[in-house]
Symmetry: C2
Subunit: 408 residues, 2 copies
């Protein structure tokens, strides 16, 4: 290494924006849990890991074979730059059309490196620094960093405590002249609630009325990462069916339980007004945000990936087993209707203490404090059957202990 000029001690090692992001409390907590989870995974086996929506069984052969097939080059441009690939867009549009009964076209699909990028793309397409984004607690814990990175202002409201439904009055009360979008997440992470169509219709009316009253369009951003993960034959409904100013964010990472592979999209309904402005804005951002298009291989695989999913019936059986068993132990479990998660009231008000009591018994769940709603804990149904069976005595012992006061 060559000689270095003397380094003077000058202010401003990192940007204010980066420093602020690094200091978001909920983000720091999640990061610390992520690190701990990695350490735990390396240090031991035999525990029951209900923390993150990660796989705990080998990937499906069909998933691997699909990628293997897509890897075989069919022309000299196989690994050239890819933007919104035609075949991928067409397959995604057809699939979404079937799911939602909305006539999506290929040009309505903007491919991204997964759900995070799709949500960030939606936020930046409609929001300017200082604009407010409303979302409901408990939320996916990474809305806040995405909103702050975009220079936007998070505005948080509570959901209905008993039903886990959106609290429309709270959303209406939170709206101001700076409101630019409301994030809707159904099937919900962490509550597992799938919002009924009537609720979505009333939300659409509320947002339309507020837009008119405030003199500015308020968008819905529909985070539908779990829209294929619904139980009991329930039909999923999307806000996009009720409100044309909806940006729909989707990720294949849930449908195939492969969150480390990055492919998803932002979709606009064909009825979205102002398409002539919206389209160049989105394609510009896809590049300027750091080329957020999914890689070539995943684009080629996408039409085949649309044809299958993980075993949703297996998730449902896990949900039933845990709901029944925990219910009979005295946990007040609300049976989730979709997503990977159950959001369970903690038997004691201090959810962190309770999750630590479970952790001492090798059962790992996430405390509600990570979702800004203390007093709950989240269970991920991506834990495998062995983990679930092994966990039951621990769940029983922990609630029993809680009745006599937790050891700390």
């Amino acid at each position: 290494m060559n000689e270095q000029p003397a380094t003077s001690n000058l202010p401003g090692a990192v940007s204010g924006r980066a420093a602020r992001l690094a200091s978001i409390p909920s983000f720091q907590r999640v990061n610390s849990y992520l690190r701990d989870a990695g350490t735990r995974r390396k240090s031991r086996s035999g525990g029951s890991d209900f923390t993150f929506g990660n796989p705990h069984q080998m990937p499906a052969d069909r998933y691997v074979q699909t990628l293997r097939d897509a890897l075989t080059p069919q022309n000299d441009q196989w690994f050239a730059y890819q933007t919104n690939g035609d075949a991928a867009r067409e397959a995604a549009a057809q699939s979404l059309q079937l799911l939602l009964d909305v006539p999506f076209r290929p040009e309505d699909i903007y491919l991204t490196t997964g759900g995070f990028a799709a949500i960030a793309l939606a936020l930046k397409t409609v929001g300017d620094p200082g604009d407010e984004i409303i979302y409901s607690l408990p939320p996916w814990f990474l809305y806040e960093p995405l909103i702050l990175e975009a220079g936007l202002v998070p505005v948080k409201v509570r959901v209905q405590k008993e039903t886990f439904d959106l609290d429309l009055d709270a959303i209406a009360a939170a709206m101001t002249e700076r409101t630019r979008a409301v994030i809707v997440n159904s099937p919900n992470n962490p509550t597992g609630r799938v919002y009924p169509p009537d609720l979505l219709r009333r939300l659409a009316e509320l947002v339309e009325t507020a837009s008119s009253k405030l003199g500015r369009r308020i968008y819905l951003i529909s985070d539908e990462a779990y829209n294929r993960i619904v139980f009991d034959g329930l039909r999923f409904h999307s806000p996009v069916e009720f409100y044309p100013h909806t940006l729909l964010a989707y990720s294949y990472g849930k449908t195939h339980l492969s969150p480390g592979q990055r492919v998803g999209y932002l979709a606009l309904p064909p009825t979205m007004p102002d398409r002539d402005m919206m389209e160049p804005a989105i394609t510009g951002l896809q590049v300027a945000m750091g080329w957020v298009y999914p890689n070539a291989l995943l684009q080629y695989a996408l039409p085949e990936l649309e044809k299958f999913s993980i075993d949703v019936g297996q998730l449902q059986r896990r949900r039933d087993r845990l709901t029944d068993e925990l219910g009979s132990m005295g946990y007040r479990v609300r049976r989730p209707e979709g997503s990977f998660y159950m959001y369970v009231p903690s038997p004691v008000p201090d959810d962190v203490a309770f999750t630590e009591s479970l952790a001492r018994r090798d059962v790992y769940v996430l405390p509600g404090v990570l979702f800004e709603t203390p007093g709950f804990f989240r269970i991920s149904l991506t834990a495998n059957e062995d983990m679930i069976e092994r966990s039951l005595p621990a769940f029983e012992a922990a609630i029993e202990e809680s009745r006599h006061g937790l050891a700390t």
Copy 2:
């Protein structure tokens, strides 16, 4: 589809930031060229495509086999969320250590979805909205959208016209109290220049002096996407060898001529001061920018990808063939020392007219106007040998025609 509430015509279809990005002139020109290139590719074969750094020969078997091997799941977490994977970081650090003789460690490597994301990550790590970023013309044409998306201000200076070296006086003159970083791109796109160590040393001194004088740290952002693509046995030198406040952006997309696969990194030298602030800032941004970590498959492949590259000798032979032939026709070609590109003075001042004259002869190059330096055109050496041989009569005819006045 359900009934929709009436849509009132309200202001603000897209954000101001998105609208501004969509309207950057150089960006629009590049986008329009990209679209045309796609159309051209579909509509005809037999032309010589020297436009973008895309492959025009089948992918290497070893590249495909490396990804195939990485696809085989070795545990149930194979496609789980991946952040800065240990094995990938270690391989990248070792390789960079060999290349630059700088003792990079695994924890100095922050993995990204390619070079765009690495540059965006660097910009946002050090720059706050309103901060100025200096770079030299002709530039890679997407610095401007990345800088603007980050809320930063592009400040452009010219390189030395004859040598294509950085104009240090121009850089010094452009510095203000808002200057936060200088982007350095060597081997350079589009000029093919590899900056000599003495120039980099003087640049380091200049930036250190300016930082002290202005009372604020000015960073270098070293865009080294082509640092493995150098000719004639030349040794590549990085700014990171001379200035510890350098953020190094790298992409595997050039080394393997697979720009549609997205993997790269941002690296900090071990001597970078203020690491305790820098590290959480970068990892926070990796998530908040939209989860810019490369996907699981490419992370697993990375250690093997470090062991080979495209045939740089073949690129060098193409460079020689084109330099010699075009030179003998009367083009004033400067022989590039690295990268994929040759930047050739247009025989007539109107580079767009000249490239159109070539296009009428089925030879496609990019006009200097796309690089904000009219009077040149760029040739990509990723065109194959057939394309090169077929192009020679067209280059000859076009320069001949230019001597008598171009047809328009």
